[in-house]
Amino acid sequence: MSTDAARFMKREIRCAVPPPVRVRKEAFGLLFYNTQDSRLTFVKSRDLLQIETLPHRGKRIVASLGPASQMKVKRLLEHLLKKGLIGEA
């Protein structure tokens, strides 16, 4: 596979975490907490989703879209978007 093709096949998506939402890494994946309603969301993503810390305490979710994980990652991101735990990429 050429370098360009490999880059295309392993694309990264970054989604902002809204200010009222907190997130941290756990062994099973990510644990979200919505401070507005105190609800927890357990996301069994293992290492498919990572957290990137931004200046001023902001966070982003980083998803790697590899050929094998692409569908699962997309489903996870859609789920998180629907629940308001991440913003649009």
Partner: protein, 347 residues
């Protein structure tokens, strides 16, 4: 059908901590969970120790600190402690008796967007509330609520511990909260502290527990702090946790820095350690008392149709009444349909 109990790898940190920041209190409530359970009532962490602990909570990425007491606002540096937590971006929730706020304090609190306040009120009438919380407190609590609202603090709820004394006023309490434009939160009466002595007088009977279950199902807007999963109906399943969070999601810090799995499990056998001697992370991950609680199975409940709603219920109630963590919650609605809850009366 026998249900498989959930297995838990411990989270690497609690979701939240309940931190009793002081033992000092100006009231002597008959059901106080904290009264008389701390060996050294006067020992309190210093402000520097509190700051260092908040730094640790921040490093551990704990999502929220729930402050209680005693009466937290009787600690002179409490607002500074709140501000320090907020400066780290950590939301806080304070349980207060609502009787010690002045206008300037309320004004300062109104400027804290990361703060929620629960004001304790145990009756919709002065007669009911004051019999539990002390003479004259009903009016003072309502004055405290009005003061906070007047100063622009709106992230506020009334918190009521449901007892036999106020069960008949729950609807009126909710109406009272609506008059103020705030939410109602109902908490479970559990036999800890003073409540051990008042248990037989204040505990709900089976008819009241069933009635409360129906009320909660009909009023999803009423908050419960997850303490009623033993009687919660199917339609509250999505409103919060339906499993005991002690040592799994949360832990309790006492004024002197002692750590326990839960505010209601504070016998010596549940002592996890002290934050003055070791990091909370060590206690959370390795304290034998915490791991013991995580491994509790309530086998008697595993064939119950409600098991996924209430996997055994509250171990603290089972411990105090039956001296066993793995006994089914005596207030689980499925266990007493048609009969009185099987209280051992050993409190």
């Amino acid at each position: 059908m026998k249900h498989r109990p959930a297995t838990w790898d411990p989270l690497r940190a609690p979701v939240n901590v309940t931190w009793e920041i002081t033992s000092k209190c100006n009231l002597r409530c008959r059901h106080c969970l904290s009264a008389g359970v701390s060996e050294n009532q006067s020992a309190e962490l210093s402000f520097d120790q509190c700051r260092a602990f908040i730094d640790e909570l921040d490093r551990m990425e704990i999502f929220q600190i729930n402050f209680g007491g005693g009466e937290p606002f009787l600690r002179e540096d409490f607002v500074d402690i709140l501000e320090y937590a907020h400066s780290k971006g950590i939301p806080t929730c304070v349980s207060t008796n609502g009787t010690v706020h002045g206008a300037s304090l309320a004004h300062r609190l109104a400027g804290m967007p990361l703060l929620r306040i629960q004001v304790s009120l145990d009756g919709a009438t002065a007669a009911t509330n004051d019999a539990i919380r002390g003479a004259g407190t009903f009016e003072r609590i309502l004055d405290g609520i009005a003061l906070l609202l007047d100063q622009g603090f709106s992230n506020l709820s009334i918190n009521t511990v449901v007892t036999r004394a106020n069960y008949g006023e729950i609807e009126a309490l909710c109406a009272l909260a609506r008059q103020y434009g705030i939410k109602t939160r109902l908490s479970r009466f559990r036999p800890s502290g003073n409540a051990r002595r008042a248990w037989l007088e204040y505990r709900l009977d089976s008819g009241q527990l069933a009635g409360l279950s129906e009320f909660l199902s009909a009023h999803r807007e009423v908050l419960t702090g997850d303490s009623f999963f033993s009687i919660a109906g199917e339609n509250r399943r999505d409103l919060g946790l339906n499993i005991c969070g002690a040592a799994r999601m949360t832990c309790s810090i006492l004024p002197d820095g002692s750590v326990y799995p839960c505010a209601f499990l504070r016998d010596e056998q549940f002592y996890g350690g002290s934050i003055t001697r070791e990091p909370l992370e060590e206690i959370w991950l390795h304290a034998p008392a915490f791991n013991r609680l995580r491994s509790v199975r309530v086998e008697a409940c595993e064939s119950c149709s409600r098991f996924s709603l209430c996997p055994g219920g509250c171990p603290a109630v089972a411990h105090f009444l039956f001296k066993s963590l793995s006994h089914a919650d005596p207030e689980c609605i499925a266990s007493f349909r048609g009969q009185e809850p099987a209280y051992a009366g050993t409190v």
